[in-house]
């Protein structure tokens, strides 16, 4: 009986200790942090993510005095093998957190599991985490973003006409989701015909070539939507080169400087944009909180901005 009482007491003491440790999370000070940001590829959209991350680092420094280093490591090509190599090399440096935009959730899984296995906090941004892995993800509703663009194009066309979709990287989940959701909206309108789907692999030059060829093949094409940031820029260039400004309508995606210029020039009507700076900012903030031992939300929605000629 005495032994039983002792063990119950010991369990209670240990339990209280654990509970106290949880209560104390985040109260210890740390002088410096190093976070790694791994985008899909070297791309201006991700430079904006990096800008947001650097801003978050400056805010933490200003408010707490802790030094925050952001290591931005981008694959030279949108290739999951190359991205995994960078991720694994980053794990070897034992950072305080890694934020990554997954090229392919299933293909990245093994390397992500290595990071989690080594107790490195991981945040996913602009993509969907692998099934079953409880990682904080930051992004927006990719489907809703695409639907906003597709509905706008349908409205501009009065519900009738031939349209085309420019896919980004087909194996990138967020690009694939956008393509599906564009198609869903167009399917709701019997007067809208999707006559072609291009693949630009998130590359402006490829998008321009694909768009030019598709417009040649479909002279009655009335409108375009895209699934990545590079796509609408290439499409806009192709529309200008073909002298079809105003004749072929474009509703773009995201807010790269070239996209904004296309809206100013009247080549594109508008853009349904993600907020890359905000994704970078909150990636660092969640990594920081996790590094302090504080639980972070499963999903943070950074929202969608609609950019038109009035507010560009």
């Amino acid at each position: 009986m005495k032994k039983l009482l002792m063990s119950l007491l010991a369990t209670a003491v240990i339990g209280t200790g654990v509970a106290m440790a949880q209560d104390q999370a985040g109260l210890e000070t740390k002088d410096s942090y190093r976070f790694v940001i791994i985008p899909k590829v070297v791309h201006p959209w991700f430079d904006k993510v990096n800008d947001g991350a650097q801003h978050a680092a400056a805010v933490i420094k200003a408010q707490t005095g802790a030094d925050v280093q952001i290591d931005y490591s981008a694959p030279q090509q949108a290739d999951v093998v190359q991205q995994n190599q960078i991720l694994e090399s980053a794990i070897a440096t034992r950072p305080d957190g890694i934020a990554i935009d997954l090229l392919d959730a299933a293909g990245n899984r093994a390397s992500l599991e290595e990071a989690v296995g080594q107790e490195i906090p991981v945040t996913i941004f602009d993509s969907v985490p692998p099934e079953g892995m409880e990682l904080t993800s930051i992004g927006n509703d990719f489907c809703e973003q695409a639907k906003i663009a597709a509905r706008r194009l349908v409205e501009l066309l009065g519900g009738e006409g031939d349209v085309a979709i420019m896919m980004g990287v087909p194996s990138a989940p967020n690009h694939a989701i956008r393509a599906e959701c564009h198609q869903e909206v167009f399917d709701e309108h019997p007067g809208i015909n999707v006559v072609a789907t291009g693949i630009d692999n998130d590359d402006i030059e490829t998008a321009q070539k694909q768009a030019a060829a598709i417009m040649q093949a479909h002279p009655n094409l009335k409108g375009w939507v895209a699934c990545d940031a590079a796509g609408p820029i290439g499409i806009g260039q192709a529309i200008q080169e073909a002298g079809k400004v105003g004749e072929v309508l474009l509703v773009g995606l995201d807010d790269l400087p070239e996209m904004l210029q296309l809206i100013r020039d009247g080549v594109a009507d508008s853009s349904s944009s993600t907020k890359p700076e905000m994704q970078g900012y909150w990636s660092v903030m969640t990594m920081w909180q996790k590094a302090l031992g504080i639980e972070t939300p499963e999903y943070i929605d950074t929202g969608i901005a609609i950019i038109t000629q009035d507010d560009v």
């Binding site: 949108a78 290739d79 093998v81 995994n84 070897a92």
Partner: protein
Amino acid sequence: MLRKLLTRLATNQLAGVFVAFLIIFAISASLSPYFLSSYNMSVVARSLAFVGLVTIGQSMLLILGELDLSLGVIGGLCGVIAGILMVNYGINPAVAMSMALAMGATLGFVNGALVTSLGLHSLVLTIGTAGIYGGVTLVLTKGVAITNIPAEIQFLGRGSLFGVPLPFVIMIAVLAIATFITFKTRFGRYMYAVGNNTAAAKMLGIKVNRVRVAIFTLAGLLSALAGILMVARLGTAQPSIGDTWVLPPIAAAVIGGVATTGGIGTPLGAIFGAAIIATIENIIVLFGVSPYWQGLVSGTIVVLAISFDSISRRYIRREDQ
């Protein structure tokens, strides 16, 4: 005595690239506290393994005076075929992988047969076949990865043997076989004879085209092996597998002392070249080099490594005279 030993080491064909690799390795180890960690060494070894397998095949082709630009794409296509056979058709993984390996050898054979029978330049021909094989990959996958690869084969890409990643162990075994073939067999001597002087090799009675087709076939087989191991590593068959295996194996072979004109070099030297590239790729991340500087930094290190090799060879020649 020491001078004699040093001269003997210096006159070895591999000395330049080996010393260049050692210098890069030592600098990396001294500048980054993470470089020598067991985890990081396994990361470098694993990344070297996949590109290393393609490098072995490409270096043997270069020794013949040939080049195959479709090897990376063959790796990707065979990985995808293995994935489709296992996932879509439920074929036993061992059988599916064997079929994919056979497909790799066949595609390599087709390249070799076209080069020899039509008298085409391998560089030009394989640009075309790379387009065809890459196109087939896209048609089969529609650009989307094949998921749900059976867990029982994933140990091939993710597992380790006494702490050494399994793909690296496989690559070393293949390298040992390739080295044996090139140095210890009649076929190996034929390779160098063909690479040095095709006309003379023909006059000696060597069946030049047979040697060429055999090496193209072997290179296709090794690329397929790399692709299948990568599928096992990723747990998905990505259509993009092999996209980055085109230029690095050629660069690795050249860094490793393989002459693009044929007849000179070894697969072992090419692997040292690949090891230099894998180390550079790793330290660029460890040092946190900006992605916009990475090309400049890695290119400079490669140029320095090649220059070091060239200067050391010139020094050796002068010593010999």
